[in-house]
């Protein structure tokens, strides 16, 4: 503990603000704590520093920053071309050509181009690991030879193209996808006369693909009834020609708000999610948010309940908080309804602030600890009482004011950032599970700005990205403040 205090005292936190046009961090994946970005990282100029790959440009890192002068457009391969960085090279896959580019001095040099027609695809959801848009993944080294195979997902299956000599040939069509089913999307029974039309049921292929090593995992979601689903996981190995099934496992029927995820590396399918319930023990029908997790494919569950507000969703419910490789459970609890119905009414009507508690339950011994390892309590100023439904309260309700996914000091332990005023962000460093209510850094922000957390420069320390409607994103790069 003394060491932690000393470390905090010696290494104060500082932020350098930069405007980075085009950068967007739209949120965080609630079951993994990973940032959802419109860019990916790669070192494309070979200087050992991480560059930022956008859909239309590359931002090279220079002297710890991304100056405007280091922003370069990507090679022109048509708007529809997919792009992916691989081993320091940039791959662009247009309708009929797969090109590999390498950065040279001050421009792109096409190293090689392969004639490789892209299969026609339905507008499928992105495969796991892809981030959407032009940067949808299409390269994966299934055979481990250092040369990536190309894959493309269509309703027929997964097309895999392997390198043969000077070109890529289709090595196989892996028929591993589930059949399309009619979705239960509700069709209105009553139509306005001018809007009357025949509507065909929508067909949907509800599955997710995960590429790992020589395998492809297909995750299938099957609705049991309106409230429960069952997940199936089939693992395939690609043997160079076809997919060989390695095993299938199916979960119990579980609540539809549970989603498959990876909370540890035990190889078992994990499920996690959350839902809102209503308290039965109070005069006011107060909402309770339940955070669920199963580490054994739905056989047993770990549930934590927290007092909530209607419609509240935590930004992130599972994150590897302590860097031990296992996701820990995060619960957020509002203090708005503390103290019973009378007190809650009083607070709703008159108090322009809200007490908020974040709890972290460590994953250990095949479960989640009963008692939280960390309990952080903040007071968030809402500008007006909750009953007035102001802007701050709307943001609070949407779970936009608290983030636990960042690691600002790079110690492997997540830290907390809270927008506790409409014009202020407070960063609280956590070391050795010690939370201090006094913030380690405070950032003044515009009232309209919304924040997100991501390690933009990939230096192991999370940064804060501010978005504001009609303005360029502003990134606050974290660094250790020198003596």
């Amino acid at each position: 503990m003394i060491a932690a205090v000393l470390a905090i005292a010696l290494g104060a936190l500082a932020f350098d603000a930069r405007e980075l046009p085009g950068i967007e961090v739209t949120g965080v994946r609630p079951l993994s704590g990973k940032a959802i970005t419109n860019y990916s990282h790669a070192d494309l100029d070979g200087d050992g520093l991480t560059d930022i790959l956008l859909d239309d440009a590359i931002l090279f890192q220079r002297q710890g920053g991304y100056p405007a002068a280091s922003r370069y457009a990507l090679p022109d391969a048509g708007d529809a071309a997919r792009l992916q960085a691989w081993n320091g090279d940039l791959y662009l896959w247009s309708e009929s050509l797969l090109s590999r580019y390498r950065w040279h001095e001050r421009g792109w040099e096409r190293v090689v181009a392969y004639a490789l027609p892209r299969p026609e695809t339905d507008p499928l959801p992105a495969a796991s690991g892809a981030t959407g848009g032009r940067r949808q993944a299409f390269l994966h080294d299934f055979d481990g030879d250092g040369t990536p195979e190309v894959f493309s997902v269509t309703p027929e299956g997964v097309h895999v193209f392997a390198r043969h000599g000077a070109g890529y040939n289709e090595a196989g069509l892996l028929n591993i996808l589930p059949g399309r089913r009619i979705t239960s999307d509700a069709v209105p029974r009553l139509w306005l006369p001018e809007a009357r039309r025949l509507s065909f049921p929508v067909l949907k292929m509800a599955c997710r693909l995960v590429m790992e090593g020589d395998g492809i995992t297909v995750l299938l979601r099957e609705a049991v009834d309106s409230e429960t689903v069952r997940y199936g996981r089939t693992r395939y190995r690609w043997d160079g020609e076809q997919a060989v099934a390695r095993g299938t496992e199916t979960t119990q029927a579980v609540a539809s708000y549970l989603h498959p995820c990876r909370l540890n590396d035990d190889g078992m399918l994990d499920l996690a999610g959350g839902c809102e319930k209503t308290s039965e023990t109070t005069m006011l029908p107060l909402p309770v948010y339940e955070t669920w997790a199963s580490l054994d494919g739905g056989k047993t569950f770990h549930v934590r309940r927290s007092a909530s507000i209607p419609g509240f969703r935590p930004r992130c419910a599972f994150v590897d908080f302590d860097g031990d490789g296992q996701a820990d459970m995060i619960t957020e609890e509002t203090g708005l309804f503390e103290g019973g119905a009378r007190e809650a009414m009083s607070r709703l009507l008159t108090l322009p602030e809200v007490g908020h508690t974040v709890r972290v339950f460590r994953q250990q011994d095949g479960g989640f600890a009963r008692q939280p390892a960390l309990r952080a309590v903040f007071v968030i100023r809402l500008e007006s009482p909750a009953a007035a439904q102001g802007d701050m309260f709307s943001r609070y309700r949407a779970g936009k004011l608290v983030d636990v996914s960042g690691d600002f000091d790079g110690d492997g332990s997540r830290d907390l950032v809270v927008q506790d005023r409409i014009d202020r962000l407070s960063v609280h460093l956590v070391r050795d599970w010690i939370f201090r209510s006094t913030p380690d850094a405070v950032l003044s922000i515009d009232r309209a700005a919304q924040f997100a957390v991501a390690d933009v420069n990939d230096d192991g320390r999370s940064d804060i990205v501010l978005h504001e409607e009609g303005k360029m994103s502003r990134v606050y790069f974290s660094r250790e403040e020198g003596p």
Binding site: T281, T282, R305, S306, A307, R342, E343, S346, T350, L351
Partner: protein
């Protein structure tokens, strides 16, 4: 001094036992508990009925019970001032602060009476007609019955602290005023006013009214398997309630000490 206080307290109890309002309070509390049964039925259906206890006690105790307690205590001194009977008492060998202490003891006893009535009735109904087998959730037994009992017992005890503060507050107002109706009006009015301004003025954590239902909320949260902690709320609750009790009692004694009781 304690002997005289206890004597006066004995007299107050004797008087209270013969007043209708004294019995009306517990009767209404019991009715409130029974009245909650249609809203929150209790049955032997395999589901523990702690939720009934958690639901009904704050309703019976912190809404109705609190009002009864305030009305009762607000009239303890002012009622006797209004009908003049206080003059018969104050010419007896008892000091004025001893008289106020006896009244405080009586008010506290009434708070205990209402609390025990609500708690015993609610737990009794739940045990007799329902099931109390601990709180289970997600297949786990989150809190065993004895843990819930202990939580309930602690909530009962902790819940008394702000009620005692409320007693002192009402008696303090009672010493300012000349009759029971005014005292009740002023007490409830001040209470509402304090509740309205305590949050905007940022003094809510230091006002005992904030903690009236909190102990039972811990119980309620545990019924819901929601994580709930006694600390630091319990310390705040005890400190604020204790502080308010002392300050209000002291003010009541000083004010009462300075008052004249002419014809």
């Amino acid at each position: 001094m304690m002997g005289r206080v206890l004597t006066a307290y004995g007299v107050e109890v004797t008087k209270a036992l013969r007043q209708r309002f004294t019995a009306l309070g517990p009767a209404l509390v019991i009715l409130a508990v029974l009245g909650a049964l249609p809203v929150h039925p209790v049955a032997r259906d395999g589901v523990s009925d702690y939720a009934f206890v958690a639901y009904v006690i704050p309703v019976a105790l912190n809404s109705l019970g609190l009002l009864l307690l305030l009305v009762y205590c607000a009239g303890l001194v002012s009622g006797e001032v209004a009908d003049g009977s206080i003059r018969q008492t104050l010419v007896r060998p008892i000091l004025r602060h001893e008289y106020i202490l006896a009244k405080l003891l009586l008010g506290m006893s009434y708070a205990v009476l209402l609390t025990l009535t609500a708690v015993i009735t609610a737990w009794g109904i739940a045990y007799i007609f329902g099931e109390m087998r601990g709180v289970s959730f997600g297949g786990d037994l989150v809190f065993a019955d004895n843990e819930m009992l202990a939580t309930g017992a602690l909530a009962t005890l902790a819940g008394l602290a702000p009620q005692f503060a409320a007693v002192a507050f009402a008696i303090m107002v009672s010493t300012f005023t000349r009759n029971g109706a005014t005292a009740t009006g002023v007490t409830v009015g001040l209470w509402v006013l304090v509740d309205l301004v305590k949050y905007p003025l940022g003094m809510a954590p230091f006002v005992f009214t904030t903690y009236l239902e909190m102990p039972w909320q811990v119980f309620s949260n545990r019924c819901e398997a929601v994580d709930a902690y006694w600390q630091p709320m319990l310390y705040y609750c005890l400190a604020c309630s204790g502080g308010t009790f002392l300050v209000c009692s002291l003010v009541a004694i000083v004010v009462f000490h300075r008052r004249n009781f002419p014809a």
